[in-house]
Symmetry: D2
Subunit: 341 residues, 4 copies
């Protein structure tokens, strides 16, 4: 299988390369980057020395390279202008940006600030959360890979909402992300000197992942939910921890509920009762680890969900989707344990 | 004024020394530590070289040293056995441990696991949160210095509860603490190799600060509140960030409410609307910085509160209380800006 | 092939498990730990959930378990008391501790403070640095796996000493190690609160790795060298950076010298001229990356060497040695790229 | 005394403000920044809320503001174009950039890449290392504040070179700096995601601080020294650790030598024999802590020197120089202990 990566100089790009370069069943035939065109990939990412011999291609030069599937690891706004032409050539697409995530065009345009360039493809695009849409993903031409926060938050609320046992109007997601979530761009607030040994919330008034998460929760709840979503910046490289709060309107065995819902999911691990997952336990892996609590036996369920924002929250889930779309075993290349410590 | 510190080898002990050693109006006459007795203080804490010439005293040797005020920077369970004798000698006491924080003895004994050795002093003890009890503190003989989490959480909820505009039965405090909150004891989970570049919740089923916080919130709300309190461990040295959620049952100008409530408080700083306080902005200082949001103009207020867990959350607040108890200006020795970056 | 791990609850133990659990050609049949006996391995190391189903065995119960090879990931002093019995049963041994590293018994006893319990095996033991002793390792029964600092320092000096172009009496190794080098024991100085956001040298007066390094350098130089070795503690989890200084007594093309010496070595990567290797570029991998400089064209060569102290500096090199001893391809299971960022 | 700060939006600027804002004897009358002109200082640096009420001035608007002394906290190349005009008005100058540090114009132009705009002032400028040039500083109009690395390296070598007991042709300075040394500019390599949990050398081929250091060492040695200087990037916010190597050509009591040389220096602290200074022990302070070793009683002296790169390595030393130039007690405002932990 021939794979292309458009926009390979950011963190999701290098992570796709890390996951794919050791595989025999897929071959990365190009990695494009306008800024890095002509430079060896392993000059920018020395970790790939001996693993990736490619140079970055100019994005304008790759459109005729035959491919089975292309990843867009580009900023928002790029995939929507190029997707149609690729699909016409029979190339499958996984878009790691937000261009095809929201089904409501008006909502997308409000939060992202552009006119949508491929509104006609939005309906066709499948939201790439395998735990919800595995079958659709398997037969899709165009997959919108979920955001990092949305993956953790949706997987954490899913069993509660499907079971219909919580108040859907007072959901809270207090989420914390490692700094790679902010991307590889030069920025003063993301300097080590500014962000290390400190912690803060950001975008409390409104974050683009809010409508994406609510869209998914609405499907699970079969109705409109109301979510308060508060993102925070962790002084760690990778990792998301979502702490989720929902008021129970029915008593239930929460531990069993979670274990049953996810018993066949290869990348969702429900921890034993009383556990507290650590982000490092999933570092570098495609696993989402969950624990569910009901503190003091009161009426609030507390779900703890961890993932690696660059893997299950981005490139790893994209590879999981690629495996499904190409008819490969879903877990191929994604089963290594985390490095710990 | 002559000051003694009982239990000076931990993080609150060295922080008391850092704050007091540069002052001319008070004199630290002893610092005790059973484990370190006889060793120079600045051998254990080289940062104090040139500032503190004391050796650690054996705790058994200090009871006759004349003092105006003694700090207990000891583990829970020590102050309650020694307080009565000191008070009889006319020595004022600030206890940084939890021994005198809870008014309900049964609740204390349930959460701390001992019989209380000085139940008769519990009623007299004043809870040392100046923003609530300034006058009582000024005339107190025995002050129970608040816990680190309780300080941030109570200051954040205070204006909302006093105003009576939120549902008191669904309060949520999602709190994150730097690792010095766990103390200076040797411990595998607190090793840099275990805690760095990672993040987790802990004690979700129940943390000793829950009853302390609820006791304070009950006073503010003039009734029983219901709080879900989730502590998390941050890979930073100092700093607490509390993210607080309360459902509004009345519309109000939250920004004005907070600004008015705290306009005369020297150590509570309400940030401009739309702000996100960083823990580093209060590092090493006695300041608590707050911001209040109402995301998407929905019905949930989100309060962001930061403090240095060792200063406003422990030693700094203790010094603020000392200033009040000794009739000194409340802000003496506590007005330096944070080091940033 | 059946593999046993004696002493599996420390950092080298879990790292051996991480590297071996994904392999089909070897089978870990037991992991022992006196302190953890009976507990599931993945309870202590949740990163191994789904990968390792073993419980820790009591060390007293494993001596009769048939094995092809046993790793000792124990503190110094254990392997030397158990090695002889295992060898007699035909079990091959790789000792990750220091028991068999020094050929001179008196030197060992001086630096480690015990009488050596298996002096008769010291001569037979092969020092497990494949770049120097590959053939001997392949046929060895007992391999002494090198220390973390010694691996980086020896690989960095090797081309210079073999070429005979530097003054051997003024060698300097300024080495910096991540904190996992100190092991998994509870300790105040290694707490995140003590070691983060700081840096220091330690053991400047004398570190146990000094005689081990000098023994190796003597072989390369075919004579007695004089090394000043200064270890420092980095506030990072993994990684060693050795900065090596040697005075040139002959001009030479250093870049070519290094590239030629290591051109066939799978786990030594000489970077292009002018490079500065980062420890993160080898995180989690068995690679040692080197760069050589001659600043200002003066007479001092500066070699920069990085490795992951737990992989090429411990468990990874042990697996490389295991591959050699068992006749497996040397690089099996050791070829994944580093996670970066 | 009226003080101006030109270029106040970087790390040395905010550090000057932190140190000066609490003082009664000096008054900061303006802080300029072209990029931030018009913005409140405490909007950029919330740590200064309540301490600094100034807005950033446009640099073009401050030339007529009467001042006793002006700090240049600007990038290299600015002070040399503005110094002459200020001196003519009788304003004293402390330049924290490199414009006036090197006495040899040709050397300056080679390393900094410009023609020097005020060559006639270079001779007059006094190098602001009080331990070497206290008297000259006290009467200077123009002080060139030393670089961060040069301060630590020079203070560490000083006693050895003045005593004439080491080989001056084989000096080595292996230096490690916290990331604030790289300034506050947006930059990919200095992102937390790139620099945390890693370590590397940089500029091994040649760093601008090399000629500055050698200029100072030449004075101490009364002849030309030969230094190999290797800077490294530490994943910490503040702090420099210099590890210095010199071959002894005469036996001496090194501990006494250091203690005597610095016994009257308020900001150099020689630790007891056998010590290892930690960078955190001087965090936020103007202290340089030193330890001297002679490992294995061989012929190499190893000096360990720590300082805060933004204080003794920049703004603190500048304030020390200001005190001297204005006739104030040298230690004013610089005597607080470090925050530890």
């Amino acid at each position: 299988m021939r794979i292309g990566i458009i926009g390979g100089s950011g963190y999701t790009g290098v992570e796709l390369l890390r996951l794919l370069c050791v595989r025999d069943d897929v071959d990365v035939v190009f990695v494009s980057s306008r800024a890095q065109a002509g430079n060896p990939v392993c000059q920018l990412f020395p970790s790939l020395r001996g693993h990736v011999d490619l140079k970055f291609s100019n994005p304008d030069d790759v459109s005729d390279t035959p491919c089975d599937l292309v990843f867009f690891a580009t900023p928002n706004g790029t995939a929507m202008t190029q997707a149609a032409a690729l699909l016409e050539k029979g190339v499958k697409i996984i878009d790691l940006s937000a261009d095809f995530r929201l089904k409501d065009i008006a909502t997308w345009e409000k939060w992202y600030g552009w006119s949508h360039a491929s509104a006609h493809l939005v309906e066709e695009a499948v939201y790439g959360l395998p735990e919800l849409f595995r079958d659709k993903i398997s037969s899709a031409r165009l997959v919108a890979n979920p955001g990092c926060y949305p993956t953790a938050v949706q997987l954490g609320f899913l069993p509660l909402l499907e079971a219909g046992i919580v108040d859907t109007q007072s959901l809270i997601a207090d989420a914390k992300s490692g700094i790679t979530g902010a991307g590889r761009g030069a920025s003063v607030p993301n300097l080590l000197a500014e962000a290390a040994d400190s912690f803060k919330a950001y975008a409390v008034a409104g974050h683009r992942h809010l409508p994406e998460i609510e869209q998914g929760l609405n499907i699970m709840a079969n109705g409109n939910v109301n979510l308060t979503f508060t993102p925070h910046l962790l002084p760690v490289i990778r990792g998301i921890h979502a702490t989720l709060y929902a008021r129970l309107n029915t008593q239930a065995d929460l531990q069993s509920l979670f274990e049953k819902r996810y018993e066949n999911e290869p990348f969702v691990d429900v921890l034993p009762a009383g556990s507290h997952p650590e982000t490092r336990s999933v570092r570098g892996t495609n696993m989402c680890r969950l624990a569910v609590h009901q503190p003091q036996d009161r009426d609030t369920a507390v779900v703890l969900a961890v993932e690696d924002n660059l893997v299950k929250g981005a490139a790893g889930q994209a590879v999981q989707n690629m495996n499904l779309m190409l008819g490969l075993p879903e877990t191929t290349g994604l089963l290594h344990p985390a490095m710990m410590p």
